[in-house]
């Protein structure tokens, strides 16, 4: 499946991916409104770790055998058998944070319910990749990675 890959050598630590991820997962899809006016405040599902010297963006790897899905106590977290996207069902999630503890990459956030990268499945084009100013994020099949 196509996934988002981060290239450490090209990451600028600007964190615009976080800004645009948060906006893409907002109601208004507007940067200023997403940050200043929406309640509950939208959550960025990508996080840049590090500083200007070394940084890299982290987000869900959409594992083949996801620990979060296995750990989920309500069956909310599911891996889509067709697209491979791992995402929680907001109607089933109870915000118990079990997935957060199970995730080996630490890329799940909980704000009442679990929040994580869904590869922008509504638009089909991850906002972080689209808006990275240095092409440090790429959205490709694993085989294309070389």
């Amino acid at each position: 499946m196509k996934k988002v890959y981060a290239i450490e050598e090209l990451c600028l630590n600007c964190r615009l991916c976080e800004v645009y991820c948060k906006t893409a997962h907002s109601k208004s899809k507007n940067v200023v409104k997403a940050y200043k006016f929406e309640s509950p405040e939208p959550v960025a599902r990508i996080m840049v770790e590090g500083d200007n010297a070394h940084s890299i963006a982290m987000q869900c790897r959409h594992c083949a055998d996801p620990a979060c899905v296995n750990a989920c106590i309500t069956g909310a977290m599911q891996k889509d058998p067709v697209t491979g996207i791992v995402a929680p069902d907001p109607n089933k999630c109870v915000g118990c944070m079990t997935c957060l503890g199970a995730c080996p990459y630490g890329v799940i956030k909980v704000n009442h319910i679990a929040m994580k990268c869904d590869l922008c499945r509504e638009t089909g084009e991850p906002a972080c990749v689209k808006n990275c100013p240095n092409n440090a994020l790429i959205y490709v099949e694993e085989e294309e990675l070389q």
Binding site: E9, L10, C11, L12, N13, C14, R15, L16, E18, V19, Y20, V31, V32, Y35, K36, N52, A53, N131, P133, N134, N135, A136
Partner: protein, 499 residues
């Protein structure tokens, strides 16, 4: 106590700012910072150089850099800049340094020259429908050709190189610009079948793969020069002078000489790379001839040798001497040419405009019947394709573009290259900053620029009814001056508009 006010103000639109901190993390001058007490992003305008990096990356367009209206009292003689420079020197006691070409208001002759177009009596040509040739050959041309009975050329032809477009990348060394920046230029040169120039800093091993499109420079410091280096390049360029600093050599400060730069330049790490003002083995045209032929000898007479000279008062005679010394290409760098770092006073006061220098050199070489012995390449602020067309009509074979190529890669002409803090990853060796320039993105922008200019050159040539750039070369009848004195017209060798 600070004696001078900041040159710029940073206006942050609070309605738009989301305190994301992109500006703070991206500003190498630390003009933006996150206030840890309040979590708000704030600015310190005294550190701003107006490079526009924050403005371009701000996701909400919340930032604006404006000129500080708080200035000293208006004075036509004592400009703000003149006062600021005195204050700076009073604080430091040092020579003023600047980056890029001179920003002073000298006449730009390109803007006082108009092009011709065909009307009625001769047909113009539509380059979209008809072939239009911009291929350019650089090097000496034979004065006559001899053939055998079967039509084979018997004359030994001098070495020439072929370009698809009359545009090449100016000399910008690895050291003065980042490896990523030089790599982008090299990749663009390869794709457009033209040349990039190593500058005086040697050829980095990573750029070996682009050596087929490299002009290798030999400057007074001889940095990175070896037999291998000379044979890798397609043209060897002896740098005598640079338009931004005629008469002096370069000085790459030791802090920029990291492992990579030191290996490429073949000098110790962190040592200052100082190019002497003259080549200490060239004190005459005869000495220049010795170097030219040493370089030809080491490359088995297979590569054209160029001599790059800054446009100075006696340029025509110097160019004539250089051609007679054996130069296959004369490069003239006008006084508006750029630099990574140059003494401000030299940049702003030394040299002559490239337009006048080019016209004078071309005319002198023609008068002496040695024009065919060399190609003329010009540099020093070629801003657009119209400048290129005018230069070629004045007699140039090709143009170097430096600043334009840098602007294509993100440079916003803040003219602080010498600080090594270039926020666009161009004029810096700091790995935190150089990684901001991704060659895969930026080379395409340079390619776009070259393609766009080449299209425009074809359009303008077509309008004149010319279908090959060779027919435009030295065709000064295609030019008319506007608002120029008799003397200026005489030097440019063109008529006034209406004549």
């Amino acid at each position: 106590m600070r004696y001078f006010t900041s040159e710029f103000l940073i206006e942050r639109n609070k309605d738009r700012c989301i305190n994301c901190g992109v500006c703070a993390r991206q500003c190498s001058n630390e003009a933006h910072y996150i206030d840890l007490d309040t979590g708000e992003v704030k600015s310190d305008e005294t550190k701003c150089v107006d490079c526009q990096r924050c403005v371009c990356l701000c996701p909400t367009n919340a930032l604006m850099i404006i000129k500080n209206p708080n200035q000293t009292r208006d004075n036509a003689n004592w400009s703000q800049q003149a006062i600021r420079e005195v204050e700076m020197q009073a604080s430091t006691g040092g020579i003023l340094l600047s980056g890029m070409g001179t920003p002073k208001e000298y006449p730009v002759y390109w803007d006082k020259i108009l092009l011709n177009a065909s009307q009625v009596t001769n047909p113009s040509i539509d380059p979209l429908r008809e072939p239009m040739e911009t291929k350019t050959y650089l090097g000496a041309k034979p004065t006559q050709l001899e053939f055998d009975e079967e039509g084979n050329i018997l004359t030994k032809l001098p070495p020439t190189v072929e370009l698809d477009t009359p545009l090449m990348m100016s000399a910008m060394s690895f050291g003065s610009i980042s490896l990523n920046a030089q790599k982008s230029l090299a990749m663009a040169a390869k794709e457009c079948n033209t040349f990039f120039n190593t500058g005086e800093g040697g050829l980095h091993k990573e750029l070996d793969q682009y050596a087929d499109h490299a002009i290798v420079q030999v400057a007074s410091g001889r940095f990175g020069v070896s037999k291998d280096y000379l044979n890798k390049g397609q043209i060897i360029e002896i740098k005598i002078g640079q338009g931004a600093k005629p008469g002096i050599g370069g000085h790459l400060p030791g802090e920029k000489v990291n492992v990579e730069v030191s290996q490429t330049r073949m000098i110790p790490e962190h040592s200052d790379a100082i190019s002497p003002a003259p080549h200490h083995d060239i004190y005459s045209i005869e000495d220049l001839r010795q170097l030219i032929f040493s370089l030809k000898e080491v490359t088995r007479y297979k590569k054209p040798v160029a001599v790059k000279i800054a446009a100075v008062h006696n340029i025509a005679a110097i160019a004539s001497g250089s051609v007679r010394a054996g130069a296959d290409i004369i490069v003239i760098d006008g006084f508006r040419g750029g630099s990574g770092s140059t003494p401000t006073r030299l940049r702003d006061n030394v040299g002559i405009p490239i337009e006048l220098a080019l016209a004078a050199v071309d005319q002198r070489l023609r008068d002496e019947s040695i024009r065919q012995n060399c190609s003329i390449v010009i540099a020093g602020s070629v801003r657009n394709s119209a400048d290129v067309v005018k230069a070629i009509a004045l007699g140039a074979d090709a143009c170097y573009i430096g600043s334009s190529a840098l602007i294509a890669m993100g440079c916003h002409m803040c003219r602080t290259c010498m600080t090594g803090k270039c926020n666009w990853g161009i004029a810096t060796q700091n790995p935190e900053l150089t990684r901001r320039l991704n060659p895969e993105i930026q080379y395409k922008r340079v390619v776009n620029l070259l393609h766009a200019w080449n299209h425009e050159i074809q359009e303008m040539m077509g309008g004149m009814g010319i279908n090959a750039i060779e027919s435009l070369r030295g065709n000064r009848l295609m030019l008319r001056g506007i608002g120029l004195s008799e003397k200026e017209l005489e030097i440019l060798g063109i008529k006034h508009a209406g004549e």
